[in-house]
């Protein structure tokens, strides 16, 4: 299985991380690494999540996460970008 990383721009509020990780848990995907940082704008956080999955998994995760109300932006990082 390929490693994949998504970069998220999210509202900097309680409970947001919980909503995102719950989507991984729902499909049974383990999170290998996780970074959360407040950005220069304190209303917004940047999250990086690495996990493993094939193309189907990657597409599904990006699409499911994009639906969350508190998520402003989702980018699937290529290996080069990381």
């Amino acid at each position: 299985m390929d490693k994949f990383t998504v970069e998220l721009i999210v509202a900097n509020k309680y409970g947001v991380l919980n909503r995102i990780t719950a989507l991984y848990a729902k499909r049974g995907y383990n999170i290998d690494s996780l970074y959360v940082n407040e950005t220069e704008d304190s209303n917004v956080s940047r999250i990086l999540i690495s996990s493993k999955g094939d193309e189907y998994t990657r597409t599904q995760m990006v699409r499911q996460i994009s639906k969350l109300h508190d998520v402003k932006k989702v980018v699937l990082m290529s290996q080069v970008e990381i």
């Binding site: 909503r19 599904q60 699409r63 639906k67 109300h69």
Partner: protein, 554 residues
């Protein structure tokens, strides 16, 4: 203008055109109920017997009216009793705003009396949820909640309002716009038009998105223009009239023979506002073999989730249908239409062989009721065999007339939904088909129907068992009927009378017609119809199977 939190809730309900809410009071929402009392000339509150019934009623109200349903419950057990109703609205994409009270903010997180973390509990069954910790954010939160529930792919939103926030005061601003940043997709139909033009045997598979989008007329127009038969998902029923010749009705596990066989034999599936649930497809590999699939849905995450589609179109199915209608060429394959007609003839022959236990069969009962009521009558079901029979045999003619728990399959959904549906139509008569198992789960809502003079007609297809589990035990568990026999001595007619409703037990079609001919207009009627416990729902594609495995019986 300074208002307290409860007054802000009322203002926001009014601002969103809410005139009917369903709910149940309790300690943590008494401040809100005090304001509901004062606003009773503008907002009618329907008190149910159980919060679950209120949630299903708000859901049924939303399905019939097309508006966002509103349900209110107290903290703790009040909130947890909503959970099944919220999950039901989530899986069927029904716009619902659930307002719960909670303990005051300083008591949150201390396991206080009647405290649960309802935000945590409902996280995976809502589009979004909020805990409002300061009254200053209540107005905007409610505005966002209604927007989220009713936009894009609709769904439930929960707003948890601690008790002190209901009484705290702050300024009320009125009509401020909300900043919603979710981007909408721009559908591109170019490739789809080519594929449709090249198809020799096109098939339309339409779902609840058609009804949510109000696209029923354009669905029929497209079907006519490209001469494509239409199979409907459970949520799509009512999107086309049963009188439209190319409407093949329900497809899927218990779908009609013609609807499933045509979906198998076609060379193109045009899926419109539907999500290829496992109950609709069975074995996905067999399902998508040797055909192209165009998937149109408003929710990008549904596209290629269950079935890999060749062309993905994300957008409102109504907009996409408009574009397709003007872009696709008119076409008709005589051979394909002849094949469809042959399948329908075959289906007719098979269905006449299904019922073998006298004339008082589920099919005959449902067809009799269907014949006696007008096309705008709202029909609700519970979950089980009766639900599938109703989906197969009730002659639905209009959208927003069929209320069923499609995705969640929640027994006990029906009576609350039928009551909510009646409120959405100025207390017009609604029909509920239920079973003795499902009815037993939430029949307490008969009290609500009696109190509110709702003339709902409850048809209990009573087989003294949990019919679908029994059917599966017959087919897959060598007739070991583990806990599916009910063997209850409940007298449903007497029970109905005890509630103040009108109760009957009928044992033939003539008796049924007689009761239906003299229904009271100011209270519910329960008609207990004993049927054989060995009646089965056919045809059936066994779970994980394909059309080739279809059990036809007869």
């Amino acid at each position: 203008m300074k208002l307290n939190g409860a007054q802000i809730v009322i203002k926001q309900l009014e601002a969103h055109g809410v005139d009917t809410v369903f709910g149940y009071p309790g300690g943590a929402v008494l401040t809100l109920y005090d304001e509901l009392y004062k606003a009773s000339d503008k907002i009618h509150h329907v008190l149910t017997a159980h919060e679950q019934g209120a949630a299903h009623a708000a859901d049924g109200y939303a399905r019939v009216s097309g508006k966002t349903g509103v349900v209110i419950a107290t903290s703790g057990p009040g909130a947890t009793n909503l959970v099944t109703g919220i999950a039901n609205a989530y899986l069927d994409s029904i716009p619902l705003v659930a307002i719960t009270g909670n303990v005051s903010v300083p008591l949150l997180g201390r396991d206080s009396f009647q405290e649960v973390n309802i935000m945590g509990i409902t996280n995976s069954i809502v589009k979004h949820n909020f805990v409002v910790r300061e009254v200053e954010s209540l107005e905007e939160t409610l505005r966002e909640a209604f927007h989220i529930a009713g936009s894009g792919r609709c769904g439930p939103v929960l707003v948890d309002i601690p008790k002190n926030v209901q009484s705290d005061m702050c300024a009320y601003h009125g009509n401020q716009p909300i900043a919603i940043s979710k981007q909408l997709c721009t559908p591109d139909i170019t490739e789809a038009v080519k594929l449709i033009a090249d198809s020799k045997r096109p098939y339309i598979y339409a779902g609840g998105g058609i009804i949510a989008s109000g696209a029923q007329e354009n669905l029929q127009k497209l079907s006519e223009k490209i001469a494509a038969p239409v199979g409907l998902s459970l949520m799509g029923l009512g999107a086309l009239s049963c009188n439209y010749p190319l409407n093949l009705g329900l497809k899927g596990m218990h779908g009609r023979y013609a609807a499933n066989t045509a979906a198998f034999e076609c060379d193109l599936i045009l899926a419109l506002g539907t999500r290829f649930s496992d109950r609709a497809t069975g074995d996905v590999d067999a399902y998508q073999k040797e055909k192209s699939i165009i998937h149109v849905d408003i929710d990008i995450a549904e596209i290629s989730k269950n079935v890999a589609s060749h062309i993905e179109i994300c957008g409102d199915v109504g907009d996409v249908l408009n574009q397709l209608l003007s872009a696709v060429p008119e076409k008709r394959s005589t051979e394909w239409i002849e094949r469809i007609n042959a399948l329908k003839d075959e289906q007719k022959k098979q269905e006449s062989g299904y019922s073998c236990i006298g004339a008082f069969t589920p099919k005959n009962i449902i067809e009799t009721v269907s014949r006696l009521f007008s096309g705008d009558t709202v029909v609700a079901t519970d979950v089980g065999q009766h639900q599938m029979w109703t989906a197969q045999y009730y002659n639905l003619k209009q959208p927003r007339t069929f209320l069923t728990s499609g995705g969640l399959g929640a027994m006990g959904f029906g009576l609350g939904a039928a009551i909510g549906g009646s409120f959405a139509k100025d207390k017009q008569r609604t029909i509920l088909f239920t079973g003795d198992g499902s009815f037993g789960m939430n029949l307490i809502e008969l009290a609500t129907a009696v109190t509110n003079d709702i003339p709902v007609v409850v048809i209990v297809l009573n087989n003294q068992s949990l019919g679908l589990p029994r059917q599966w035990q017959t087919m897959f568990y060598e007739q070991r009927y583990s806990q599916s026999g009910l063997d209850r001595k409940t007298d449903f007619a007497a029970l109905a009378n005890a509630f103040g409703a009108s109760g009957h037990r009928v044992e033939c079609l003539a008796e049924l017609e007689a009761v239906l001919g003299g229904l009271p207009s100011d209270r519910p009627t329960v008609i207990d119809c004993p049927i054989g416990c060995d009646e089965v729902v056919l045809p059936m594609i066994p779970p994980g199977g394909s059309v080739k495995d279809m059990v036809l019986g007869g």
